[in-house]
Assembly symmetry: D3
Homo-oligomer: 249 residues x 6
């Protein structure tokens, strides 16, 4: 089986590095990189909840996310989202990040506050939405652990851990963790979000101008599952004693 | 196994009706309904192509989609998207419809023109994005067949047919074609887009505040596959001799 | 006197059809057509009143309207009003529809609630603003009759009925109910809104690049008056026992 | 017949004053006042034509208008139209001003250029849209006469003069040239645009929450006709030898 | 030393005229002109304070400013700021005007109300931002004196007077009060805001594509100081007994 | 003389660190920090020039800047500038950065291309606009040196170097390089931009609710001059042989 042009095996992850905390005023702050993709994930706490939650009998918390690419993250330079126009791609991505992070949070245990996870891409070389989830989870855990009012019960806010990876098909071969070059040529592009316990949170497989069979779908899911196990292990090492649950991973 | 509150079996489709052509000035125009969901799908032809395609050596065609809900489609009334603000949900949906329709079109055979498929929801009772794809495909075929310049080669523009269905889990039971009541209570919501030949175009499985196992994923995919076979058969009956390819379905 | 290219006499209305209720989640819902113009009029009830009414001593109700053309209603396709930019024509039209409907409603009898009448044009072949008023009135009556809290006093909410028609001059001849072909060539374009009792609500006569004499104005008003009597009779037949006032029409 | 609270007879105009040219960098510039309403009308020339006119075989000219109220023109202060939101009233008014001015211009004689007439209200006490037309016409004539390339043929650009006045009904009495106090209490509000030769350009009669009979309509039109004759005479005096056509007025 | 093309000496102000009150509905209203620059400054009072001031223990007042150029103030015509887009220049200018006026107001003495000073440029020939401050101060004083609730203590609201002037360098010569022709050719453009007592409020010196020495900076400051003394004297004459403080100027 | 609460002398700079290149896809990329303020400055090259430069006989280049604060740069979190609304402060700052950088660039030597310097604040503790200029200059030099078409003439593109610092008055004492705590309490806030040769580019001194004397202005300018000499020396060390001109610094 041929190696990829950056020397990786077809189902090998890019090397991941994490700087934590990174320069920021937020209680959770992580600079995560995978190959040529770098993202600054910060998690800020607001002791308010969204208006639509205020009618709940026992108001619970909320976790939301925003995603943006810095102008210098691509060449040629990417224009800023300042005009108020819809950038459909960013909207889709930040909704995905928010849903993924919420899937492992016990909103009652979090209490009536909002945590916003901002994912600002410094360098974009493929896989920015999945790396945002993997890094955003670490920033979120740190922000929750900064809350003094939780009295040492911060780990109980999490029901599981969460990470994500991309997988796809190029020349009908299954590739894990595609970089930009591979992603732009892939026939199928799939993003998979899973928990540390091995459950699915999101499966988004997309073929543009192509289709894929059930067998190909199964092979991609298997590769993603292995990749996410690797990322979960990295998250656990980094978080140390703040790793949410002893009983898994 | 218990029936659903509208009397359907867990994996039974809602009855589908199609009025074609429906009141419109567009060459493709379909009013498609499934239970309490009704959508007007129109397909308009513009003999221009998008600016970013104009540098292609041999310019090919393009298919795009827009999705909107009429204010009276829900109770309480839905406000219009007029303010220029981002409605993330509509943006996501119309990108999905566009990708799905493009996956079965040979852009070179279509020739340098743009077809816009507009999906305007008249009544919303769940499954609007998938029904937009199923009905939008019919409107698209009609619009292509209205093109005199194709000289009777309209069927060759399509490489396959396409339809879509939702599937999900409610109380850990697999349900096909969820209505609004079921969808708002489901633990997992999955939209599956497949071709008449049985290949996947999109798989979007989402759990908000929940997760699902690989076994549950497989069961949902199987239910969706059966549902789409039923919808493909309805499309074939309606399109008659304009049904794109004899060799399938 | 020569007939028009669609065979009508100069002062003959186009045939009108009404489907009621039409597919919608709103309590009032009418698909009205006149020749090649079709409009979906829905009337939704909101048990709130606008902020500027909240300081009234005895808060009364409000009726407002929105108007929009679906993209497939014209060929070539009409772009959606999504950008937040001012579409002056739509704004003018929906203000006219709102004022016209309010002129026959007793806001105190309606009570502190807002009814929004949405007029979405499916096919546009001239006269969309006047047909919106004629059809919108029917939807509004139906919505008022759906209000259980009125205890059978729904008819008292209306002080009169209202309908509208266009009239104009082409080659200095007076034409009633212009279609798009005629409208785009007319020297004068006039929209007249009248009640079932024969009173005027709005008179909007416009000459672009032309003028008209007082005698020509009078002839147009007479033609409009006859046309509106015909439309009022159609409204009365459709509404049956919900027709607001026995004492007129 | 009782006089009005400012001492006027029911069908008497407010006194009109005109400063010309007024402080501005535009070739046409008029400060027109009627009672407590003051408007700065400027007419600027651009040697371009709108894009949609560029395909004409022999490109002709265009006249357009913009209308705005300065913040200090009302008490309490009026907020500026800066947010990009639709102010329906301003849009309607500037479309009316533009149509009215165009009705007396020979676009071929004007030649391929655009004149923009800006009407900025300094003080608003009723009748701002009609006074904008009356004053805007004077600014427009001045701007046309500033064009050296017309070689002394500036008067031929105009086929007629144009002026406008409001008329309405208050306590069922016909009042000419309503001020703000009267306008806000009127049952019917009508704006009439006529030419110096006595032809109609626009008739906009509006009843909000009221209706009016044919007889009342006729009485209002007669009052407006007399008022416009008075304004035309003022325009003629001011414009002197630039008054467009000797043969009328 | 050579005179300037309009005949002025290098450090001579343009002649200043003030009409007060000018046509407006606001309690403070001034038409100020300096050479070919004319600005309508109005000051309106709102008995509300901004939301961010409402938490103050003893709420004090606020003064803010808006700046806009009328379309006819320049040739070619300036487009209106209607699109909601950022016009950076206008924003900068109105922030400067607001800060300058606030520097001489005792917000506690003003009491919990907001005064908005609108500066609308009728003719622009250089120096619009500084003339807005000089004229805006007069309008502000008038608005404060219109407040009956101050019981004759209006003069105590002001701690000083304020005026502003531009100065710059053209061909390395120091020029005071630049007109547009000079401003567009200047190597350095400086705006200086000072009080009647001779203190600085703002110093904004800008070189685009050039730089300036400390010695040149000192010479410009000296020229500005002399110019502002002249403007202060004009303000004092106009305001008469409303001139804030006897003890200076 | 008392030290400041972070232990600095009144006129002592905060320690400056620079990481270069930092994670980015842009040819110039610098992470610069001064105390608790950190900014990512990237410089991207576009081989186009702005439309308004295209009519120049010999088109020259352009340098522009954008400034934004990441949400996590402040606590509480700062909302993104996405709504299309005017953020006056950001607009002012990015115009200042652009002008400052352009003041030391020979646009003809740069050639017909645009360099955009993006300054994204990661941590904000005062002085973000001045540090953006100091760091942006380094990124700009790097981007210019990445241009192969300049054939080793990159140093000739610069006529000087540029850096900036804030200075102010707190309790009437002159402080250099204010942090956020000091800045929010200062009576006067001044930003000074100077070149390596010691010339002024911008002087912006602002007093809100206070004023300052000429003597105080002079003292602030002297402190700024010393601070900028220190920053210039840091820039020279970092840029090494790319330092623009041997003859200064």
């Amino acid at each position: 089986m041929p190696v990829r042009y950056d020397g990786r095996q077809p189902q090998e992850l890019r090397p991941v590095t994490v700087e934590r905390p990174f320069r920021s005023a937020a209680p959770g702050s992580v600079l995560i990189a995978a190959g040529g993709t770098s993202i600054l994930c910060t998690a800020s706490v607001d002791e308010e909840i969204p208006p639509w939650k205020k009618n709940e009998e026992t108001p619970t918390g909320w976790v939301t996310a925003e995603y943006s690419m810095l102008p210098g993250s691509t060449a040629p330079r990417k224009r800023r989202d300042r005009s108020g126009k819809v950038d459909g791609r960013s909207t889709e991505i930040q909704r995905l990040i928010g849903r993924s992070l919420r899937s492992v949070v016990d909103m009652a245990a979090l209490g009536p506050r909002t945590i916003t996870v901002d994912c600002d891409v410094l360098e974009a070389d493929g896989g920015t939405r999945t790396l945002s989830i993997t890094g955003g989870f670490i920033a979120l855990v740190d922000a929750v652990h900064s809350l003094e009012s939780l009295n040492g019960q911060a780990r109980q806010v999490f029901t599981d851990s969460v990470a994500a990876i991309s997988v796809g098909m190029l020349d009908r071969q299954i590739l894990l963790d595609l970089n930009y070059y591979e992603d732009s040529r892939a026939e199928v592009d799939m993003n998979v979000v899973m928990t540390g316990r091995g459950h699915f949170v999101e499966v988004q497989g997309t073929a543009e101008g192509q289709t894929f069979t059930r067998q190909e779908l199964d092979a991609q899911l298997a590769a993603a599952e292995a990749g996410i196990a690797g990322l979960t292990s990295i998250q656990k090492d980094i978080l140390g004693e703040n790793w949410p649950l002893d009983s898994f991973g």
